[in-house]
């Protein structure tokens, strides 16, 4: 086991312990685990199931039901494109299409192969006053256009290239 994996596993055990291995806390437990791993690896979910004394199917069932949980690793930059009603009527779809075309992604294949970007649509970020809205990781960008959104992407690509 690598050091990182051991560290993560330690965190995992702490999370389970903190919640007294209580199956009623499953959602909170999975949320905290996802913060450690950035997604929910299959073997970890099985481990959680055994620890809580419930079937892996139950854990998997909860993990697939809620959109907040990811079963595949997400990109370093998660681009959340708001498609709430207000953003929709202000043409958020054009922004989505522009981003997808630029990054060569689509609805099913939404993470770039280099693991840098994930594009998701969300139903409402609640910042309707700034519609249309794009959220990149925790940062909200309001009054977006396809052009401005692409500029943000280019900035990140530039940053990543400089790091290498």
């Amino acid at each position: 086991m690598s050091t990182q994996a051991a560290l993560n596993f330690n965190n995992l055990c702490e999370i389970l312990e903190k919640h007294n291995n209580d199956p009623a806390k499953l959602i909170t437990i999975l949320q905290e685990i996802q913060e450690v791993y950035r997604y929910l690896p299959e073997d970890i979910m099985t481990f959680v199931a055994t620890s809580l004394g419930i079937s892996p199917a139950k854990v998997y069932g909860v993990a697939t039901f809620y959109s907040h949980f990811a079963l595949k690793p997400k990109g370093k930059y998660v681009i959340k494109l708001c498609d709430g009603t207000a953003c929709h009527v202000k043409k958020s779809t054009a922004i989505l299409e522009a981003l997808q075309t630029r990054l060569g992604l689509n609805e099913k294949n939404n993470t770039s192969s280099d693991g840098i970007f994930t594009i998701e649509t969300v139903s409402c970020l609640g910042a309707c006053g700034l519609a249309p809205v794009v959220m990149i990781n925790e940062e909200v960008h309001g009054a977006m256009t396809p052009e401005l959104a692409l500029k943000e992407i280019d900035k990140i690509i530039q940053q990543e290239e400089n790091k290498q």
Binding site: K25, G61, S67, C124, G126, G129, L130, A131, P146, E147
Partner: protein, 632 residues
Amino acid sequence: MITLNKIDLDQISLAYNSSLEKISGRIILCAGTACVANGAYKIRDRFLEVARAKELSISMEIQKENSGDYYLSKSGCQGFCQMGPLVTILPANILYTRVKPEDVEEIIDKTIIKGELVERLVYKAPGKETLCPTPKEIDFYKKQRRFVLKDCGIVDPEDIQEYISRGGYKNAEKVLKKMEPEEVCQEILEAGLRGRGGGGFPTGRKWALTLKEKSNKKYVICNGDEGDPGAFMDRSVMEGNPHSVIEGMIIAAKAIGADEGYVYVRAEYPLAVARMKKAVNDAESLGLLGNGIFNSDFNFKLHVMEGAGAFVCGEETALISSIEGKRGMPSPKPPYPAQKGLWGKPTVINNVETLATIPLIMNMGHAEFRKIGTENSPGTKTFAVTGHVANTGLIEVPFGTTLREIIMEIAGGVTDNNGNIDNSKFKAVQIGGPSGGCLTAEHLDMPLDFDSLKSVGAMVGSGGLVVMNEDTCMVKIAAYFMQFTQNESCGKCVLCREGTKQMLNLLNDITKGKADHNTLILLDELAEAVKAGSLCALGKTAPSPVLSTISQFKEEYRAHVEDKKCPSGNCKDLLEYKIVPELCKGCRLCAKKCPSGAITGNLKEAHIINTEICTKCGICFDTCKFKAIVKE
């Protein structure tokens, strides 16, 4: 630290107010999600930086012993999101809009030191030159009745002492010390308060039903799983005045005999989660939550739980499943949560706004409360007004206000695609989110309340109002909502799971020009089946946006189905972009902006769109200054 049980609200209030008297002014920075996104925190940092350079004392904490001459505090959403970031200067109550970090120095020099206005930051009504320096002069605020939102946008949501200093928790104290559960239920029943989460069920009756149940354990749940796209009222209350929700929950717990509660907040609202959690911790450490509150024998433990992204969890039985750690799927009613709720125990579930209204009713009494609003829908309602209007944002009006007052006066009128006000462009308002319906120009003067909306096939819902202009395609809007419910259907009921999918396919056929005369008949049949065959409100109301747009915009549907034309020019498959060579000046602007490189042509020569590469995104159409690009 003040010990448990011995909390003295008056003492806290007195101490806070005397600190407030010591300061010479206050700067309130709106820190709602929209203003933060626009850089509110950068403005805060700039204020502190400039103050330091000018040796002006600005403090971010009021009750430090050497408290500054000026107190800089943040507030929850002030509602005027369009004009953010907002900065209010007290005591003059000057409201500065669209403030940037580089404006801060001027604000300090002119307004704070000399008491003069910085005119360019003062709001002016669109097209007018009169300055509106305080909210009293601004139409957006002037025509509202801020009741539940009164303190949102003023108080620091993370300072429990400020909430207490404005009479907070006084009503909980009164209820716990002097009232019997039956009296509390009766008071709310007589106030005629109806649930603000959508259905409009009388809150007092819900409470009385739960009180009646005999059980050793009962729960109160606050439903903050506000998932309607285009609605953010509950978020604003949780972010702006979280203690009002907690106080409402304490009163509800007393009224039904509960000793434990949950606040269930949507995962997409990280700020609301953080502020609710802090508020609960602060209330606990002052002994306002816990055992023996206010020296009574009343105990109340409150948890904050974060959702995980499922719209259906706004339905009460699904929400209960989610708190229990399961998939959030609804279950049949009866038994109602009042009889068998969380862990099988009697449970009351109320919406955020409903709970925040409770302390206000206890304070003013039911008779005064009934004077606001209409006979059958007393009180006020918050709405999130978005879409094609001049002032998007959060508003609060008494029930019985007309759409015309909301859209044309408070929201400042309808805008065209370029943001210019043109009320003649008004087409429709979508109210109540994916469960609601559309209202048109003929409904503009109808007083809005629970019953009037139901009678025209719409609903108050949680209060999302999306205004649409003439360039919006109603078939696409119906398809948009159908896509939403399709995604969010939990899959338990076949008709909701499969029926919404088929309805969506039919709507997509219409927008793609593949529909025939049977499509609308089929849609109608399916709508009835989905309504009848679904367990919860998500499925039962899923067809509403479709049925309502079909009945209000028959002609538009007909044009799509029979003429294969989209009158508003939105359905890509029914149109093509072309450049009129005679009008094209060859400025290259459209070619530069085209994301797919479909436009070619030399400078000062007419350009051509390659229809095979064109994704019909419409950017060129919006860009062209010479109207040389047409949709056909």
